[in-house]
């Protein structure tokens, strides 16, 4: 079985071993998108380039790109950090006030809360992609795993209303994560046992999740709300199942502690990948499954584990969105949700490193918030247009981040190369 599994990973051509040995046979996509070579420069150039291109699109419809970008930036709340002063802050979960640099109740602060709320799941779906990626798997199914995590979280959150609040929210998160893990595990298992390509299976699982969601929360669906049969939306989860909000007004969607869980998972990701035997195996399999196998590592087991763990992160993203922000699922929101795919863009832009994913997720979270109808002044730029602009920027980022820009400039790729084998 494992031979069949491996055969598709390799070129049939023998690798160069003699003194003429030229290119590395292991230049696969894992090293291409996961290398630290060049550091942050490539992604930064890519980002600037994408914004420049998008700026042209803004100019084409007769708006001033600089003004538009300025307005988007103000909407992200990132200008919060620019205004120093002398303010006080209430320590979370206490009545104590202490001195603080920034004004935590300004408009910018509220915008920043929104940005961070949006960033929370993006970090996790990006980590999900990154983890599988490190194992040589392209988990394009983060969206489906995110949705399944959210479904289970809503189901637990709207049931068991008398449960202890701490246990209830914990159950929402744990079951949501496990659901995501299970869902991704299907693809992992198929990859590990019959070698079914994970890209095909996870794409199919994404759409399965969407339609199952439409069924669950649609009219007369099993999880549709009990009070208004005409509205295809779930019940709101019990108060006990909601994550505590530590910054901003509760009624206006303040920031929940989900962001800490999310950032914490970023740390977990870094530790697992770089400091554990599991991460060591996953990376070895990702770079060279054959060598890993010769080193006694079970490739199939790692494929399964990497997918399941990947799904765990994506499922948690869904659960955090429910317990910390949305509190319910509307049928109409399901097909338009893009969190999993934005995570994909963030992971690629962050080159699958923990720090990179953190910054890239914040960038996309800010961009989405800044271009949302809630933040962007329609007189400056139509939010409908801006939303599409965000999508274009995501596309450009994914398109260009895989290129080694220096080789592009030198034109090396188009030249005919004759190398020794």
């Amino acid at each position: 079985m494992s031979d069949e599994l491996l055969s598709e990973e390799f070129e049939e051509t023998p690798t160069p071993t003699g003194p003429l040995g030229g290119s590395s046979p292991q230049q696969n996509f894992v090293s291409r998108y996961g290398s630290k070579a060049g550091g942050a420069l490539g992604p930064v150039i890519t980002t600037i380039f994408a914004f420049l291109m998008a700026g042209i699109a803004v100019a084409v419809v007769g708006k001033n790109p600089l003004k538009v970008y300025r307005s988007i930036f103000d909407g992200t709340g990132l200008n919060f950090f620019a205004h120093f002063g002398s303010y006080s802050i209430r320590l979370p979960f206490s009545t104590q006030h202490v001195w603080f640099w920034w004004d935590t109740s300004s408009i910018a602060a509220m915008n920043l809360q929104q940005t961070l709320l949006i960033t929370t799941p993006i970090i996790l779906t990006a980590v999900a992609l990154g983890f599988a990626f490190r194992c040589g798997l392209f988990n394009i199914g983060g969206q489906g795993q995110y949705l399944v995590g959210a479904y289970f979280s809503v189901w637990i959150g709207t049931s068991f209303v008398n449960l202890n609040p701490f246990l209830h929210v914990l159950a929402c998160l744990v079951i949501g994560s496990l659901a995501g893990a299970f869902y991704a595990g299907i693809a992992g298992l198929l990859k590990a046992t019959v070698g079914a390509h994970e890209v095909i299976t996870t794409i199919m699982l994404n759409w399965t999740a969407i339609w199952v969601g439409e069924w669950l929360f649609g009219q007369q669906g099993p999880l549709q709300n009990t009070s208004q049969p005409a509205i295809p939306i779930s019940n709101t989860i019990a108060d006990g199942a909601k994550l505590p909000i530590f910054w901003g007004p509760k009624l206006l969607q303040g920031l929940s502690i989900g962001i800490f869980i999310s950032v914490g998972m970023l740390v977990v990701y870094w530790v697992v990948i770089n400091r554990t035997t599991l991460g060591f195996e996953v990376r070895a399999v990702g770079f060279n499954p054959e060598a890993a196998r010769y080193g006694g590592v079970s490739v199939a087991r790692n494929y399964f584990l990497a997918m399941a763990i990947s799904g765990l992160f994506a499922g948690l993203a869904g659960a955090l969105d429910i317990t910390g922000w949305e509190y319910q699922i509307g049928q109409l929101d399901i097909p338009v949700s893009q969190v999993g795919f934005i995570g994909l863009a963030a992971a690629l832009l962050g080159r699958n490193t923990a720090v990179g994913i953190g910054f890239a997720s914040l960038l996309f979270g800010a961009l989405i918030n800044g271009t949302s109808g809630r933040q962007l002044d329609p007189s400056v730029f139509s939010p409908d247009l801006a939303g599409n602009l965000t999508t274009i920027i995501q596309g450009l980022v994914i398109l260009f981040v895989g290129l080694n820009l220096t080789t592009l400039v030198s034109g090396g790729v188009f030249r005919r190369r004759r190398r020794a084998t």
Partner: protein, 507 residues
């Protein structure tokens, strides 16, 4: 030989970064002649032939066809000039039929745009009867034998009107019977006026089939001699450039306990064919046992089965008294097997990994390198520093990716990793493939050291000189069976005969 050569290469030079692959090579081919190109791996034979087939452009020199200089910028041009190549790794599409493979890119048509399958079948049958190459035009490539696939490759070239055929190591994948059949085919092609370049590093084959033999060493022509009157000894001297092949100083072996016992092992290959057919042997501590054989006679499957990478269908493998027949690869390694795999790029190393990580590829799970599932990078680094110094790995620090090292240093890393785990049994598969002389000596010395330290060393090699210079006992594998055992004093001729299935009942 009074007539003009059909093909002449003049002063061909080809450089690759750091290597002079072909150095002013002159080579000619007479009509209706079999001209053998002899040389060790890495001597520059393949580069030369790739130039001839339009895959590489030479830096200097010119190619003359019937006395006229030609420009071979692409394979297409080579084909148009009547040059056909039978690649060592067949260029056949497994899911297509024989006929489809043969006519590809110059298909017979009807109505201008439709592929005329019946004409294709007809042409193939016609060609195969004319040259005595029996194939079924409608059979799928992945359902026919390797020997038949090779015939398809030859037909492919003939179909394109090849007058000159280049056969690149054609016998490497064949059984001796198939090789004999191939020689028959070559003779018949010759009779029909085709000129053939026969590339090989097997002396007896070259002597059997060639009219003239040109020897290549390190990118240079050593000489061209008529096959009539040439001897294996003389050719070997030309090929390797020294009378006495690599010899290593070693003491008399002191065999101890049997550490690796293999009993009646049967293993199937990927295609489901019985590839190891009841192999029995023992390797004692303190001795090096060499396994000689032509490539693809079951060596790869045997190694895989010994190391837990492939399931053995029957038989037993016992490592120091412990049965490991059905153990996983990890269990096998843990119970004291060291394995220097055949291809360090694909199997031995994770090239983007640092040297520290590569050196820790087995040891990462053991204390003190890791504890409770967490890696101790400090300890791994210490270990890497120690091993890099001990094995004299040059060109990198512990943080250097393995891919940045030279081949010899890469192999030292593999060796360091496997030897440091203090295995009871060390399996070394082609441990010096593609290495320079200095690195070869280093590897050989280390292997002998392991033997002297009381370990059982099982050496698998396609290079007879390596087998002869290192082994204390020599086993010969042929078609998945150990056909004979030899003392280290055996000659190449004796081994060669056994390797090709001759004298199977002797000894």
């Amino acid at each position: 030989m009074a007539e003009a050569p059909i093909l002449a290469l003049e002063g061909i030079t080809k450089r690759f970064p750091g290597v002079l692959a072909n150095d002013h090579i002159d080579f000619d081919l007479m009509p209706g002649e079999v001209h053998a190109l002899l040389g060790e791996n890495g001597a520059g034979k393949s580069t030369l032939m790739n130039i001839l087939y339009g895959l590489y452009t030479p830096d200097e020199g010119r190619i003359l066809l019937h006395g006229n200089p030609i420009d071979l910028g692409s394979t297409k041009a080579a084909i148009e000039h009547g040059i056909g190549m039978v690649h060592q790794h067949f260029m056949l599409i497994p899911v297509m039929t024989v006929a489809e493979n043969i006519v590809l890119a110059s298909e017979p048509r009807h109505a201008g745009v439709m592929l005329d399958y019946s004409a294709a079948d007809r042409r193939v049958t016609e060609l195969s009867t004319r040259y005595g190459l029996a194939v079924d035009p409608d059979a799928r490539i992945d359902r026919i034998t390797v020997g038949q696939q090779q015939r398809v490759e030859i037909l492919k070239a003939l179909y394109r009107g090849a007058e000159i055929l280049v056969l690149d190591e054609p016998t490497a994948v064949l059984t001796p019977q198939e090789a004999q059949e191939l020689f028959e085919i070559i003779r018949s092609l010759k009779e029909q006026g085709k000129s053939i370049i026969f590339i090989s590093h097997k002396l007896h084959e070259v002597l059997e089939i060639a009219d003239r033999i040109t020897t290549l060493r390190r990118g240079k022509i050593v000489g061209t001699v008529p096959a009539a009157g040439a001897t294996e000894e003389g050719l070997a001297r030309m090929m390797v450039g020294r009378e006495v092949l690599l010899r290593i100083d070693k003491t008399v072996p002191k065999p101890g306990e049997p550490l690796l016992e293999v009993e009646d092992l049967v293993v199937y290959d990927d295609r489901g064919l019985e590839s190891v057919r009841g192999v029995t042997f023992t390797v004692h501590g303190g001795e090096i046992v060499g396994l000689a054989g032509v490539d693809a006679n079951g060596q790869a499957e045997l190694i895989d089965a010994l190391t837990g990478l492939r399931h053995a269908s029957s038989g037993r493998v016992v490592l120091d008294g412990r049965e490991i027949t059905h153990a996983t690869a990890r269990d096998v390694l843990d119970s004291g097997m060291g394995h220097i795999p055949e291809d360090r790029h694909r199997r031995g190393l994770v090239l983007p990994f640092s040297l520290t990580e590569n050196l820790g590829l087995h040891a990462y799970r053991q204390e003190p390198n890791s504890r409770f599932g967490f890696l101790n990078l400090g300890k791994m680094l210490d270990r890497a520093r120690r091993l890099l110094a001990e094995f004299d790995v040059r060109g990198g620090t512990p943080d250097t990716p393995a891919g940045a090292l030279s081949g010899g240093n890469q192999q030292k890393v593999v060796l360091a990793r496997e030897i440091d785990s203090e295995p009871k049994v060390l399996i070394a598969a082609q441990p010096t493939r593609g290495l320079d002389v200095g690195a070869i000596e280093f590897v050989h010395r280390r292997l002998v050291e392991q033997r002297d330290a009381g370990r059982a060393v099982f050496l698998i090699s396609l290079e007879l000189e390596e087998i002869l210079s290192l082994s204390d006992r020599i086993l010969v594998i042929f078609e998945g069976q150990i056909v004979q055992e030899f003392p280290p004093t055996a000659t190449e001729e004796e081994l060669g005969l056994a390797m090709t299935g001759g004298k199977r009942d002797a000894a």
